[in-house]
């Protein structure tokens, strides 16, 4: 399974032998985002003990969109487009990390470790952000709105190089922190009582893992924009294909699957459809189909 993922990854760049550097940059972006989304979703689902939730539920997409809309609203469409990319990326990442941390610490600080309440708050905050975004969009004039619309869908077309390297570095750093936590994750999947009983400092680990999730989602969203369905798809595929409870295998598998799906999706998007659509549409159409087939065949549980 792992070998198959590697094979696909290795085989893929060969369809773009010309303008190699450009392609390689785009490939790097795809791989980074795919891996970040895949890994963060699996971690988040384990922590939340729920296979249907994704970090998107916590209102990340909506926050991203609100930041974008807010910037356009404040600066106007033209100067928004002219904003320096790297500081903007850092600002967005920082903002989203902060939002996540505020949300987490608010709920953990009270001494009650109530996952459901946190998720509920996340959903409500997400709706708040979305409503604010829609409200701001109403106030924009149509030409400026179209600028926002461009940011609303994930795009790998024009990723700034410095930003990309920065994001890659950040992701590598986060993955390095995540690796020693993979084995405790298996125990955390058992739930709070068994995990504490087995001597895992559950609450501290939880905060760390949620922080990692927040960082990965923030980096990938700030880099290319929201990709809502991908996480759910990737996590389900990873669980279905790996058929194991061991996160030392699940998380890398999810990262690989995420990267593979994005690379293949972008390949289809660029080559077959000739840029006539959006990557999100392709990923969600084919991914959704694949997911449905797996569900109907009983492979995904």
């Amino acid at each position: 399974m792992l070998a198959c993922g590697f094979f696909m990854l290795w085989g893929l760049p060969s369809f773009s032998p010309f303008i190699l550097t450009l392609r390689a940059e785009r490939l790097l972006a795809l791989v980074v985002v795919g891996a970040a989304v895949g890994a963060s979703t699996v971690v988040f689902q384990t922590v939340a003990a729920n296979r249907i939730l994704t970090p998107t539920i916590m209102g990340f997409d909506s926050l991203f969109l609100m930041v974008q809309t807010g910037l356009v609203f404040l600066f106007g469409g033209l100067s928004y487009a002219a904003l320096p990319v790297t500081p903007k990326f850092l600002l967005e990442t920082l903002l989203m990390m902060l939002a996540a941390m505020v949300l987490f610490s608010l709920l953990f600080g009270r001494g009650r470790r109530d996952m459901h309440r946190m998720i509920l708050v996340g959903v409500i905050v997400g709706i708040l952000f979305r409503s604010l975004t829609v409200f701001l969009q109403r106030l924009l004039d149509p030409s400026e709105f179209s600028v926002v619309q461009g940011a609303m869908f994930a795009s790998f077309g024009a990723v700034d190089l410095t930003t990309l390297y920065l994001a890659t570095g950040l992701c590598c750093l986060v993955f390095a922190v995540l690796v020693p936590m993979l084995r405790p994750l298996d125990v955390i999947a058992l739930g709070r009582s068994p995990a504490v009983g087995l001597g895992v400092s559950y609450d501290r680990a939880l905060v760390g893992l949620l922080g990692i999730t927040a960082a990965l989602v923030a980096v990938s969203t700030a880099l290319v924009g929201p990709i809502s369905f991908l996480g759910l798809l990737v996590a389900s595929l990873a669980h279905a294909l790996m058929r194991t409870h061991r996160h030392a295998l699940l998380v890398p598998a999810a990262a690989l699957i995420g990267a593979v799906i994005l690379v293949v999706g972008q390949g289809v998007f660029e080559r077959v459809l000739g840029l006539q659509s959006s990557l999100a549409v392709i990923v969600e159409f084919f991914g959704g189909l694949l997911f449905l087939i797996l569900v109907l065949r009983g492979a995904v549980r």
Binding site: T46, A49, N50, R51, G111, R183, P184, D186, V187, A189, L190, G191, R192, S193, P194, V196, G197, L198, G199, V200, S201, H239, R243, T244, H245, R301
Partner: protein, 255 residues
């Protein structure tokens, strides 16, 4: 010995435990009994540090539960909670293997596999060992979780209503097994502390009984002292006859 000193516990405005001062001796199998809502599970959870202590202190053989690192307590005390739910697809053998986590922290050695084999055999799980947990009945899952606690190999084994979901055959087999491991000289000579509702199992298998009522220790002592008609009738506020069977109390609470 587990010493519990001045422990109070409130949930919201409800007082669950009131000034509990209790020593649980190394008597073998100790049973906590009492009506619903008496605070039995809360007390067990506090001892096992599943809930933070609000006031007072608890120590296990001299180790303060609040101050000792949780990984160290995991080698002295194992707990099997009442509600166990596992989201990931897990085989029975893997679950029992998690009981060895405090010892191997992720990498199982040969002695860990041996301990898992022993636990699987002890709880009659060898034929299910490669089945997924979500394909088992409630009783079989319950046994798997108890086996996991057993595999942890700790001096103290805490069981919160271990007989839940078990049929007569497996309930008796489990209590026999628990009684067996709590004999000094037998494999390990573990100390067992369990919350049990089925009073006749307490009568048959426990060495020491603690009765809680409305958050306070009502009675404690040997089963023969506690399981009397007068004491039980007062504890549960109902008319309970106690007869005798093979030198042990036989509680007639169901008629």
């Amino acid at each position: 010995m587990i010493s519990i000193r001045d422990v109070n516990h409130n949930i919201g405005s409800a007082r669950i435990l009131k000034d509990i001062n209790l020593d649980i001796p190394r008597a073998g199998a100790t049973a906590i009994i009492g009506p619903n809502g008496a605070g039995k599970s809360t007390l067990l959870n506090l001892v096992a540090r599943l809930q933070p202590l609000q006031t007072g202190s608890i120590s296990i053989d001299g180790q303060d539960v609040g101050k000792t690192p949780t990984a160290q307590i995991a080698k002295a005390l194992a707990i099997v909670s009442q509600q166990n739910f596992v989201a990931s697809r897990l085989r029975v053998r893997d679950l029992v293997g998690f009981g060895r986590w405090p010892h191997h922290r992720g990498r199982m050695g040969p002695e860990d596999h041996e301990a898992v084999d022993q636990a699987l055999a002890a709880f009659d799980l060898l034929s299910f060992q490669s089945r997924f947990l979500d394909e088992l009945s409630g009783g079989q899952q319950q046994r798997a979780f108890v086996a996991m606690g057993f595999a942890q190999g700790t001096d103290w084994l805490l069981l919160d209503e271990p007989l839940n979901n078990l049929d007569m055959f497996h309930a008796r087999a489990l209590m026999k097994r628990v009684h067996g491991v709590s004999r000094s000289g037998a494999a390990g000579g573990r100390q067992v502390l369990m919350v049990v509702h089925e009073i006749n199992y307490v009568a048959a298998w426990a060495d020491h009984v603690v009765a809680l009522r409305e958050g306070e220790v009502a009675l404690q002592g040997a089963p023969e002292e506690i399981l009397t008609s007068a004491a039980l009738s007062g504890l549960y506020e109902m008319d309970i006859q106690v007869s005798e069977h093979q030198g042990r109390p036989l509680v007639l609470h169901h008629v």
